[in-house]
Subunit: 224 residues, 2 copies
DNA sequence: ATGAGCAAAATTGTTAACAATCTGTTGCAC
DNA sequence: GTGCAACAGATTGTTAACAATTTTGCTCAT
């Protein structure tokens, strides 16, 4: 039985501090390159400095922040080129995930994928771009889950955390929502047919298009 | 100008503590599942407990140890199945690295690869298995370097650290040294020809064979 | 104005003592 | 003997003070 918080002060678990800081960074609550002063974070999040400290160590290992001795931590600025490099690695891993998902997929899981696709279609019909983006994440997460590889899960989530800021805007590229839907349909079709090579190839194509979309975006908005 | 160690007590840099602990774990100086008691490590390595502590945090994030609150850290035991899963991920990433290396390879780098292959051939002729293993690592490292992707480098080195103990014995499987050489030759040939798909495919084949070798090994020695 | 030099402030790193938690052991009831 | 509760020892987590280092701002000579 977990002791749980029996209702007095706002006690924060140590792993919790890490998660909250991580969310804040991923959620874009800091400017790229912004300094992360331990004392400030400690106060802002209401967690002791020691906890902030270990959270920063983990975040550095994860590649979300940079850290120089006696100079403190900064949110790591990911350039467009780097984002594409990261997407390339992610593509390699997610293609593997799609292959494994195609090999292992059961009835229930297939239905889940189909359901997400359905919701994507209606989101597209209503041009609800935010929902599209959300469902996109869900679909990828489900496929990775289906792959049943803790290693792939860990690595992809690491990579994703570094590029969310780039990615959630790709849906703004003209024509992208429609293409994205078609690409996802191809992936799911491959998995449903237990076509390992097909599913992997479809995933590779999809993520190549995402890379192109990222390039287009920064051409349009100048990396903003 | 780095202050450097001006000759008194054995001062350890904080990042150094992490590296030393990491080496020790990777080098197999602890039993799998062995408890890592902070005070003991602190004394054994002559580094303050706080440094041990942050090193352990990083090592956990890296997947080399497991950590439970108030229960301390243990060396993570990687099962054969997990090792293969990790090799699968590594294969996906190294195939990407080979592809990129084939695209970017310059003269000087080609010569490096050829030189390593040459040394592999003589090591094989003299049945110097240890050297074979060492050159194997060098070749892979060089290819990854050539790929010029910081992301791929980081991920592969993370994955490798978790499975070195499995991998360095694969060379003991009968016939493996000869096959390994041929597989590496195919990879290098692909890179030399700037054949991206060919190099990637050769790398995939190679690492599949390594996976098989790992399976064979644990069948022969029962995972010892 | 400009830049070197220096002192103060801000920030991170380290240490040691203490608190919280787990683990194993002992003694006791049955 | 078995099971259970209290206890002691070991170990990790937390805290606060202090040390080391960088950064900032100021003075002053040129």
């Amino acid at each position: 039985m977990t002791p749980a918080n029996n209702g007095s002060a706002p006690v924060v678990s140590p792993a919790d501090g890490y998660r909250r800081l991580r969310e804040a960074i991923i959620g874009g609550r800091f400017q790229p390159n912004e300094r992360l002063v331990e004392a400030d974070l400690s106060e802002a999040f209401g967690i002791p400095r020691a906890v902030v400290r270990t959270a920063l160590v983990r975040l550095e290992q994860e590649g979300l922040i940079e850290h120089e001795r006696y100079r403190g931590a900064r949110v790591r600025l990911v350039t467009e080129q780097e984002a594409i490099e990261i997407l390339e690695a992610r593509a390699a891993l997610e293609a593997l995930a799609a292959r494994r998902a195609a090999a292992r997929a059961g009835e229930a899981e297939q239905r889940k994928l189909a359901a997400i696709l359905d919701r994507m279609r209606s989101a597209l019909a209503e041009t609800d771009l935010f929902l599209m983006s959300e469902l996109n994440s869900q679909l990828h997460a489900e496929i990775i889950e289906m792959a049943g590889s803790a290693t792939v899960s860990r690595l992809v989530s690491m990579l994703n955390s570094q590029i969310v800021r780039f990615q959630y805007r790709t849906i703004l590229v003209p024509g992208r929502p429609e293409s994205s839907l078609r690409e996802h349909e191809a992936i799911v079709a491959g998995i449903a047919a237990h076509d390992q090579a097909g599913a992997a190839a479809a995933m590779t194509v999809h993520l190549s298009r995402v890379m192109e979309a990222v390039s287009t975006l920064s051409r349009l908005f100048g990396g903003r």
